[in-house]
């Protein structure tokens, strides 16, 4: 099935095939015959074979679906909205944030608090920047509004903590300078993920 066919949502124009499920038996004799037919048909053994095949594949072809979670992790979508990251400039190693305060303004749960000051060159610098993750709803507005693509959502989703409110400081979210080459660019909120086409699957209706 091609993608175009799949995207066709006009009800009535698709080709549906109805399965022949027959009519349920009514008299006692019919019911008995149905049981006999089903018993002799060997469907139960098909069922046995299906699980046996799965077991053999799992054992000998390594077709195992278990993810040993804390040790292995499934890849997440690039657009997943988890704990924020502060990106830094690749060229200078300086942080990208210009202290404009837009993220603080737009945050609907008022959880970003920041302060700025002039440095010795009379340029604005961020003197304090925290996000209260006890309040953040991970809406992504801060990342969307940021003119410098400085604040983005990273892939860190394990945010269980011992306290109800966890605060992240600017330095915690900043890309460490030695991990600069690993810094991932972010297209901005609303951008489709790079593997969007692969993720489209046909709805599994045909068993």
């Amino acid at each position: 099935m091609s993608l175009e066919q799949f995207k066709n949502r006009n009800v009535g124009t698709q080709n549906y095939t109805t399965l022949d499920v027959g009519t349920p038996p009514e008299t006692g004799t019919d019911k008995f015959l149905q049981v006999i037919r089903r018993a002799v048909k060997g469907e139960l053994f098909v069922g046995l074979w299906v699980v046996m095949r799965t077991m053999l594949q799992a054992l000998f072809k390594n077709d195992m679906h278990t993810v040993k979670y804390p040790f292995e992790k499934l890849p997440i979508s690039p657009r997943y909205r988890a704990i924020h990251d502060m990106l830094i400039l690749l060229e200078s190693g300086n942080y990208r944030c210009i202290g404009c305060g837009l993220c603080e303004k737009i945050c609907i749960s008022n959880c970003i608090s920041m302060d700025t000051r002039y440095d010795e060159n009379q340029r604005k610098e961020v003197s304090e920047y925290t996000i209260n993750f006890g309040r953040c709803i991970f809406c992504g507005y801060c990342a969307e509004v940021c003119p410098e693509l400085a604040i983005v959502h990273g892939p860190r989703y394990e945010n269980a903590s011992e306290q109800r409110a966890g605060f992240s400081l600017f330095e915690d979210m900043l890309t460490p300078i030695d991990k600069l080459n690993l810094q991932q660019e972010y297209d901005g909120f609303g951008a489709i993920s790079p593997n969007a086409d692969e993720n489209i699957k046909q709805t599994p209706l045909a068993y």
Binding site: L44, G47, V51, M52, T54, A58, M64, T66
Partner: protein, 344 residues
Amino acid sequence: METTLVENLPQVTAAGVIIKAVLILAIISALAGFGTFIERKVLAFMQRRLGPMHVGPYGLLQIAADGIKLFTKEDIVPQHANAFIFKIAPIITAATAFIALAAVPVFPDFTVPEFIPLLGGTFVPSIASDLNIGVLFVLGMMAAGLYGPLLAGMAQANKWGILGAARTAVQFLSYEVVTGLSILAPIMIVGSLSFVDFNNYQTAGVGSWMIWQQPVAFVLFLIAGFAETNRTPFDLLEHEAEVVSGYATEYSGMRWGMFFIGEYANMITISVIAAIVFLGGYDAASTFGWLTIMLKIAFFFFLMLWVRAAWPHVRPDQLMWLCWKVLMPIALLNILITALVLLG
């Protein structure tokens, strides 16, 4: 009536029987624990999972972890329960399951080496007690095991328990009939109720196995065996989706564990009976004869897990329908035909 096999063997003493009984208790309860591990592993593989992995190599020590958990859990007796009956019910299940094993040949016979003090030279038989009505005794004991779930469900003052108890009575009593009738035909052919005689009847290789003479009885016995050991597709007694945990709802800790051990011991017993009565049993003459029966028992045990992974379970009314309207008439017909053939 002494069976022929015993004559050329050393004298069975009381000490030997006691050693055997202790051995059965120790090994079968360990096997029951191991059975839970195997069950979890096999079910996991059949669903493309790994199963227990982290306690010990390949999760093998999971049994020990579970055992420690069961032993150290708080022992709760519900407020309105009949405490006495509530407490003895799991013992009935476990005890009857092990008593049934007394008349079943499990593990090869051997003589305790001479260098062991006190017991050296004692002959330990393969059967703790070679009754001449072995089959009857085992089936009767497994039937008596019905009182465990029944009393447990009625004593715990819990509606799920009552439902579980009612299902116990209905299911076990009905399928008792099918087990008895299905095994009657092989008994008529062999003409004895002793497991040793059954075994001796089938010593002439695979062709002499009872399953070729009595395929219908074999299938019926297997179906009824699944029902008697409360396995899927007949696990109505404690089906989680319907009656929470049935008769075991209010149980915790080791009392619950005893139900479990009893159930797994029953699975082993049914496997042993099926292996001896229908699949040729053990070969007492050869050295590795015992290995063959172990393999057969293991196969039946695996079959129970396999079926659990593959098949959905039936409704109680379907269970009754199957028992009284399908299995019992077929069993009766089978007996009738066997009798006619034997007479003719």
